[in-house]
Symmetry: C2
Subunit: 287 residues, 2 copies
Amino acid sequence: MSHDDATSWTVHPSDALRVGAGFRLADLDPESTPGYSGKKADGEADLRVGSDLLDPLQERLHAAAIGGSATDAVLLVIQAMDTAGKGGILRHVVGAVDPQGVQIAAFKKPTDEELAHDFLWRIQKQLPPPGKLGVFDRSHYEDVLIGRVRSLAPADEIERRYGAINDFEADVAGRGIRIVKVMLHISKDEQKARLQERLDRPDKHWKYNPGDVDERELWDDYMGAYQVVFDRTSTAAAPWHVVPANRKWYARLAVQGLLLDALEGIDPQWPAADFDVAAEKARLAAS
Amino acid sequence: MSHDDATSWTVHPSDALRVGAGFRLADLDPESTPGYSGKKADGEADLRVGSDLLDPLQERLHAAAIGGSATDAVLLVIQAMDTAGKGGILRHVVGAVDPQGVQIAAFKKPTDEELAHDFLWRIQKQLPPPGKLGVFDRSHYEDVLIGRVRSLAPADEIERRYGAINDFEADVAGRGIRIVKVMLHISKDEQKARLQERLDRPDKHWKYNPGDVDERELWDDYMGAYQVVFDRTSTAAAPWHVVPANRKWYARLAVQGLLLDALEGIDPQWPAADFDVAAEKARLAAS
């Protein structure tokens, strides 16, 4: 049974949210809940259902890699404007998985050493090994988002990167890493309300950065840069998914659904013993 | 209020389990539940209570490091014989914390590159940064456990390591990393039952390794090596705790209690804003 059957999903999340030809970011309502017929309470209940499926699926992925010879892994790439809910996805969706099976890489402003290399150098080093659920909290897409909006590289270099990303991701997918690319899509008004809350609450001040407003002032430029990303890097090997994220409960449920779709697509199996079970039982009994 | 007040702990776990002068591993019953008056159902309920405390404490530790200048971190070092329950601690205790705040390092058999360096070289690289809950799944203690039992280094080098470990840990503690050292203590009979289960269940075969029985046959040597570890490396800066682990529910609750004691000892505080809150509110309103 697929996880969708027990929940209020009417369409597989990966189908409901995939970026296809002609996708227009400006036409997607950040308040909407594509593919899902339930309300908030349903979504919260379905998130718990999904958590109970996600953890054992990841364990089997891990077992197949450790005890067998499977090379499958999953890589969740999350991009978003500030406050869109990346942290909540990590806490509430990824947090349901055994921490031994998770590998999170948060990509900040590149260091001088990283800048001295190709933009994919630091990315390559963080790819998840077989059996793991890897998460990129921001990613190589920063190099064509803030990189483009703030002209952090020459225009021809930015242009080159879209193709380099596609080649890179095709190679990664070919090595058995299922790439789940997600943009969390909030409205500009919703971001204002969330930043306001961070300023209003002293226990949230540490999450606020004056630079967030600087980027906010370039909102339309960022939306344009995202549109180019979707136009040029939503490939068969690694399609994009845009998740409306004004409703946090929906965004979490949707990303969980994308991960479940990926893992159910891999369908990892318990590996056969690579030792003689009867002989080991005898050795153990004698010990 | 300390977490103990709401639960069936009668003694702080750190007091009930700390290795002091004259501690004899052979005298500690792996079935016992030191410092705790409850039964299994109480322990499971108290574990949930503790999870709801652990996660926000770690978040505050993280906030104090990111938004402030605190250098505090926690490092949980777990050592145990096979099947003693390290994985369950990671899943059920550490798994309650936001995965963004956790950094797990599993130390396997050293690589050739690692063997070419001092035994602490690979350990140093995995110390948690400020704000994180670091976990060592096995550790530098392997170098005086299997290292001693199987004579993987000359005797005088093994001898040297106890002092080197104490110096290293004192330095780490001095830099603000609270070290929580735990040995999960199971009986030889309990290990047999758990290995038997791994052989009986095809979905557990991947967890079984014939080498586990090889080490099991050296059980008494390992217990002797642990006793030397406790005698020589349970220091004021980094005391050992031996957790009876035949009852999985108790072991998980106890390790959670040790982490709560450590975090409550640090008592991390929300950092003050390092920007002008009123000015930022005005900027946001205008954006």
